[in-house]
């Protein structure tokens, strides 16, 4: 095909978007919403998975020691813990260290700590790493039998909740996404049909004067491609803004993140290349394929 023909077809495709602007806008909206849906689900589950991974990997049980326990007894407890079955690793976590850590975490409540002075109000503790997380309950029962223990804190419930949320979010997104995909295809196909209708006369004439099928279809393909690219760009920008502001909003909740073994969301820069390529590529591909697919039906030559 000649370059001047290609320029002509490209202009016709771009013009089609404008002529058919209401349907093009609908295509754009639905593509963007679908992409956002996929994008946020992926971001959400990948964060939750990271947190689950962190919490699980730590396999960490904290054993708080009764206040007033003598150094000797503390050491004895340590030996006992090391000797317990299913315990991989035992380390002492002094009340001073714990206090420092909490102070570092709770940067927004400095006033309180200033007032409290340097004396730690927290108990001494042992951090224990468990070998087999599946035998957690029986290990916990063993440990609870030891002396001088104030409290035992396991990450168990939390992992359950996180993976429950994860499952739920994935299911709900999948259902909504399925509906959105159906709607997207119908809309893209209808956008194309409207566009073809708009040019029915032209297409008929083109066929009679001997235009090839490819020549007739290219403008519609370009129309779909452009809409897809625009949708991808919009979705990318919205995802970045949304994710960053969510991160910022929750960044002060360091204790929550600390509980999940992290200091915040995975930064967006970690995703940005995949997101940009994925969004724009997927949208352009879906839209262009959808267009060609429905053009084939309407442009019978």
């Amino acid at each position: 095909m000649r370059l001047n023909s290609f320029g002509y077809l490209f202009r016709r495709g771009a013009k089609g978007i404008i002529q058919n602007r209401i349907m093009s806008f609908a295509s754009l909206c639905i593509l963007t919403v679908s992409l956002l849906m996929i994008g946020f689900t992926v971001l959400f589950t990948s964060n939750i998975n990271m947190m689950i991974g962190n919490v699980e990997n730590k396999n960490e049980v904290i054993v708080y020691i009764k206040d007033g326990t003598s150094d000797e007894d503390i050491e004895k407890l340590g030996e006992q813990l090391k000797g317990a079955s299913n315990v991989a690793n035992v380390s002492f976590y002094s009340k001073e260290q714990a206090f420092e850590d909490i102070k570092a975490d709770m940067t927004n409540a400095e006033g309180i700590f200033d007032y409290l002075g340097d004396e730690s109000p927290l108990p001494d503790a042992y951090r224990i790493r468990i070998t087999d997380i599946d035998k957690m309950s029986s290990t916990l029962m063993d440990i609870n039998g030891f002396e001088n223990i104030d409290k035992v804190k396991a990450p168990y419930d939390f992992v359950n909740v996180l993976s429950g949320i994860n499952t739920m979010v994935t299911i709900v997104s999948a259902v909504v996404l399925a509906a959105l995909i159906v709607v997207s295809f119908v809309i893209i196909s209808n956008t194309t049909r409207a566009s073809v209708d708009f040019r029915k006369r032209e297409i008929q004439i083109m066929k009679y004067v001997g235009a090839t099928n490819t020549f007739i279809k290219i403008p519609f393909f370009i129309e779909g491609l452009l809409i897809g690219i625009i949708a991808g760009v919009i979705a990318f920008v919205l995802t970045k803004i949304g994710y960053d502001s969510l991160s910022a909003l929750l960044s002060s909740e360091t204790t929550i993140f600390a509980a999940m073994g992290t200091t915040g969301f995975i930064p967006f820069s970690h995703y940005s290349v995949y997101a940009a390529v994925g969004y724009i590529g997927a949208a352009a591909l879906i839209s262009a394929i959808g267009t060609v697919f429905s053009t084939r039906k309407y442009v019978k030559v």
Binding site: M1, R2, N4, S5, Y8, R201, E202, Q204, I205, M206, K207, Y208, V209, G210, A211, T212, N213, F215, V301
Partner: protein, 236 residues
């Protein structure tokens, strides 16, 4: 050149058949016909005789039946339509200029663009388009209206634009299906005269019409189709 031998055409009447009718009577029956380059021919016949079907056959919009009992063949401008692949249909159509009863102009384009459009569709170079389009428009006597939109033209002028468009690709053959169906008698004569003039310069012209007066007036070859068969073929 057009050459048909023992051609039958049956429409795919699945929908009609579903409604209880199992007769798939051919619309065209055993048509054999030869129109040489440079001829000027009228096709006449009653409603539903099969005139438009014959025309659609020539541009491969419908295909001839493949039958065991006869050796069908159909050749248009050197293309063997019994074996023409889907891909090559556009090439065939570029050798034919088509004129419709309802003009089929694009309202949003002016006269120049309407004519240029048909050349663009065949991937013609811009340079050729810029030269050829004003030339054919001038030939149709529309030089002064080259930038007007079709809606501001009279019926006769619109049909002249349509003829200019048909001529632009320099076809060997011009086919017109009832080109004067929406025109008043005076304008009809004007349009047929134009087609006659084009014919005199060497292009084959085939015109379908209901208007016997036009046939009487212009003469030439007359093909009468009756219920899918050629009932008369000769010069008047």
């Amino acid at each position: 050149m057009i050459e048909l031998n023992h051609i039958y055409v049956t429409y795919d009447r699945r929908e009609i058949m579903r409604a209880g009718d199992n007769t798939t009577e051919p619309v065209l029956k055993d048509i054999s016909l030869k129109i040489n380059d440079g001829e000027f021919a009228f096709i006449v016949g009653e409603n539903g005789a099969g005139k438009s079907t014959l025309i659609k056959l020539l541009i491969r919009e419908v295909t001839a039946d493949r039958r065991d009992d006869v050796q069908s063949s159909i050749n248009v401008n050197g293309y063997d339509l019994m074996s023409l692949s889907e891909r090559d249909v556009p090439l065939l159509r570029r050798t034919i200029g088509f004129v419709f009863q309802d003009y089929k102009l694009i309202q949003s384009m002016n006269v120049y663009d309407n004519v240029a459009f048909s050349l663009r569709c065949t991937d013609a170079p811009n340079k050729y388009i810029r030269k050829r389009v004003p030339a054919v428009i001038g030939l149709m006597g529309l030089g002064s209206k080259i930038r007007q939109n079709p809606e501001k033209l009279s019926g006769g002028e619109r049909q002249r634009v349509a003829i200019a468009r048909a001529l632009a690709g320099n076809p060997q053959l011009i086919i017109a299906d009832e080109p004067t169906g929406n025109l008043d008698p005076r304008t009809s004569v004007e349009i047929i005269s134009l087609l006659k003039k084009i014919n005199e310069k060497g292009t084959t012209v085939v015109i379908v019409t209901h208007e016997h007066e036009l046939v009487k007036r212009f003469g030439g070859r007359l093909i009468n189709i009756k219920k899918g068969e050629i009932a008369f073929d000769g010069h008047v």
